[in-house]
Amino acid sequence: MKHGGFAAVAGLAVVLAGTPYAQAPVAPAAAPAPAAAPAAPAAPAPVAFTEAQLRAIQALGPWPTPVRADPSNRVSGHPDAIDFGATLFADPRLSRDGTLACATCHRAGRAFTDGLPRGLGAVDVDVDRNTTTVQNVGGQRWYGWDGAADNLWAMSLRPMLDSREMGGNVAHLAALVRTDPVLQTRYATVFGQPPSGDDEHVAVDVAKALAAYQETLVTGRTPFDDFRDALARGDTEAAARYPAAARRGLAFFVGEGRCTMCHSGPRFSNGEFGDIGISYFIAPGKVDAGRHGGIAQLKSSRYNLLGPFNDDAKRATATSTRHVALEHRNYGEFKVPSLRNVARTAPYMHNGSIPTLREVVRHYSNLDENRLHADGERILKPLGLSKYDTDDLVAFLESLTTPLAP
């Protein structure tokens, strides 16, 4: 049956190959040029996906993915916990000086990012890294640019306790929930009992309610998803609505560009880490160790999935934590970000050093291989893209973003 489905999709490739080029961006015609004039670039050829490319396209969906409760969080998926988490997410009292809520940096109107190269902390200092979106965060293997957390509640706890960010501590969080009558009541509703005298336990529960809320922040469907599904069901009319430029960019993305080596699956990320030649110097003489430091933090954390706060006695989701390997090459590696809603999450990279999608594509096009680890991967090569190729790839990336409601 699976093979039959692919055969149907492969058959569609013939149709797409013959699709008129009506939606292509205006490109110089391929007519003969005057003898003295430079040759005009040829118009891009219509897209004919190979069978391998069609399989790769199918592997980028479907979207959204099925929602599964997190067994490490006993309130994951509970409506009361989601509501409580939403309230906490917007409450600046979670920060030590009462000025920063989660929502201050993860702004709903900016795809739950802050739009800044690096996040701003409570003490008005830049943190070292770009603020990542909290959309589509449920069910990931690793969290944060360095993957120092293996679960969403630990990831939610980290900025609340970080002196450079919200600057609090477990005693501050627990006291807030114990002393505010509304929060205390809602905590009791969610967790079945009033907040205990154990500060750390209450603080982790706050983080678990925040995680339950964030699991619900799922991006909507995109033009790419509609195209991918149209291919799957052999709907040529629906597939033809996908712009030709995006289609060409997609063919490059899953083909020659080999972007799906890392940006794979429905999230457009393999959830792992890589070195793509972005500087990991934070300041002169100070480096961001990236994944190398993240693994060290993970292994020493009380809040990892092997620790005492995992609500799942079987540790069913702890396999990655048990087996993760610390390698020298992890130094300066950062997490492969999801590309969903990527047009709304600028600036890009772990340090926010690239302001636009077009410049991200240029980074890969002109990649300086000398900046990659000598003992690292040999996947990345300069793509050497023309202006038209760049336009196509940007058009494809933009098609991974949910259209705004009219």
């Binding site: 794979s264 699956g265 959830g271 792992e272 993760v324």
Partner: protein
């Protein structure tokens, strides 16, 4: 559940060693692949087939010495992408289920493409490596 089945099957393997030596991996239920060199045969199967990208999987395998070769004193399992010069981001753990029968846990292939699944069989100062190619999409 599968582990307990293997324990039982492993006991059966021990009880009928002669049969196992002629049919390496007979204790493994279902489809399996057999690798061999002059000294060993390795029969293995993966908990998911085909192996998907980005999902942990288990490898159950039998090691069968050939001729006068000694049984390995230790066994390691790993995977790498030769074209990319990197391995996995995870270090598998090998558990002995029964004499000659093992389970490797914690493997995860994080990229599509060609992976070499390797079995290192250590006897004294010698390591014999048998490898199997997996194409992952």
């Amino acid at each position: 559940m599968k582990g307990s089945q293997l324990l039982v099957l492993g006991a059966a393997l021990t009880a009928s060693a002669a049969q196992a030596s002629t049919q390496c991996g007979a204790a493994l239920p279902g489809d399996k692949r057999v690798l061999e060199n002059a000294r060993y045969q390795v029969a293995y199967q993966t908990s998911v087939n085909p192996v998907p990208v980005g999902t942990h999987f288990i490898v159950d395998f039998a090691v069968c010495p050939r001729g006068k070769a000694a049984a390995p004193s230790s066994v390691r399992v790993d995977a790498n992408m030769p074209d990319h010069r990197h391995g996995m981001n995870y270090r598998p753990k090998v558990i002995t289920i029964a004499p000659g029968l093992y389970r490797a846990e914690g493997l995860l292939l994080h990229m599509p493409g060609r992976w070499d699944l390797t079995f290192d069989l250590v006897t004294g100062n010698t390591t014999q490596r048998l490898a199997s190619t997996l194409r992952v999409e």
